[in-house]
Symmetry: C2
Subunit: 263 residues, 2 copies
């Protein structure tokens, strides 16, 4: 099963499209959810193998998005959801006065576009942070299929609810944590998500700039940079530009919950 020396079911997170034979093979094999090694993390979630195969009909098109390009923009008509297959995205909202706020970072297996259902127009921009690839799920198809297919409907509701819960967590972070706690929380969250995908939880490369991290965490980029430096000084992290290695996971966790250790 495992230990063959290959990456097993881990998807390389490096930019796609370098045109290797192996890449071409993978693309061909994994057109279907049932063959996708992300299906545990993605929409198929708790569905049975048989049920997942029904999903395959939904995922019509694949789409590549180059680094810096938008998958969709606020104001665009909504007609599909997107599952990140490869790469890394950010979503952001822009206020009338031009300020913008990063509202999330999405990695393989995560869904984009849920914001569009409310008004049938997107309310955020989804921008690729590296060359990426998504599965397109036409929303009308999803609605139709989940009509006749109870577990899919249930699963979809869970995905939306999970997003609501995630945002509650971000509100807690933004509303009542200090800079170091915010960054530590963010790094621990990233580490967990990498781990779920079969990557090292201790060592990873950030796809976003300090400014994007700062926007997400409600901080200025200088503050983010200073916090990284402080964590490095204290031996919690080894930071080299965008690559981060967690040296002391326990201490990093302690940064988060240090305010009222007793209560």
């Amino acid at each position: 099963m495992s230990g063959t020396g290959t990456h097993g079911n881990a998807i390389p997170i490096t930019p796609v499209g370098r045109g290797t034979a192996k890449g071409a093979l993978r693309t061909q094999l994994q057109t279907a959810c049932s063959a996708c090694n992300l299906h545990e993390l993605c929409m198929p979630g708790g569905l049975s193998a048989e049920e997942v195969s029904k999903l395959d009909s939904l995922v019509a098109a694949r789409r590549r998005v180059k680094k810096g390009e938008a998958l969709f923009r606020a104001g665009d008509a909504f007609d599909a959801l997107y599952a990140v297959r490869l790469g890394f995205f950010k979503t952001r909202v822009t206020a009338e006065d031009g300020r913008d706020q990063v509202t999330g970072f999405q990695m393989p297996g995560e869904l984009l576009g849920l914001d569009g259902i409310a008004t049938e127009r997107h309310s955020v921009d989804a921008v690729a942070l590296e060359d990426s690839e998504v599965c397109t799920i036409a929303y009308s198809d999803l609605e139709r299929l989940s009509q006749e297919f109870v577990p899919l409907q249930h699963q979809f509701h869970k995905v939306m609810s999970r997003e609501i819960v995630r945002e509650n967590g971000v509100m807690m972070l933004l509303g009542s944590m200090r800079a170091e706690e915010r960054l530590a929380t963010f790094l621990l969250n990233l580490a967990n998500r990498f781990r779920s995908r079969g990557y090292s939880q201790a060592e990873f490369v950030l796809r976003m700039t300090r400014e994007e991290i700062g926007s997400y965490l409600g901080l200025k980029l200088e503050t983010v940079s200073r916090c990284f430096s402080r964590f490095a000084d204290e031996g919690l992290l080894a930071v080299n530009n965008k690559s981060v290695r967690i040296l002391d996971l326990d201490k990093l966790k302690a940064v988060v919950g240090d305010c009222r250790p007793g209560i």
Copy 2:
């Protein structure tokens, strides 16, 4: 139709249950969504009259929640959604270390409990800020009915998506606004929601304390109090404890978007 001198289709926002004959009559008449004057704002949303009548079967029980009591708590098993019928709620998340964060305020016509779908346990507390009343919608019934009833499914998805979009807005507020902007945004949002319900948008009574406002806005209660005082000094508001009157709507709006008027 209107202009009879009564409140028409406006629901009095004062505490319920004083046992007047009129109150008893209303309770009896409005057990059904089709007879509820909130149906424009609530789940029935864009549904036709005929469609709404199908909803009635869903709304089995009504439930009263006294001021200060919880409709549900984080960790409780999830089995129903609740539509606020009368009164006012807050939702809050609590961190392991005891800190808590208000994640929303819900008024009549708004839904509570969407957080519970993800894990089948609630992840927030929902607490009544005044004596309140909710319609209980069993989630299993909702799933079943929306299975055979497309517009309901669609409407429910919209409600969830709307909540995601709302939370994006709160992230913007918490992540990149200053104290005065946050409070102004909050007041304008309240004003709009009161207006949609047929109340004055210029004059209303806050159901929550300064501390709860502060928690929602990521500020300390003293900061909230100072901002109120400053708005009053500048002639934007008349503030008397919990009652607020907006004196200069345009200036209040200007507070929000004053950072980069040009760009």
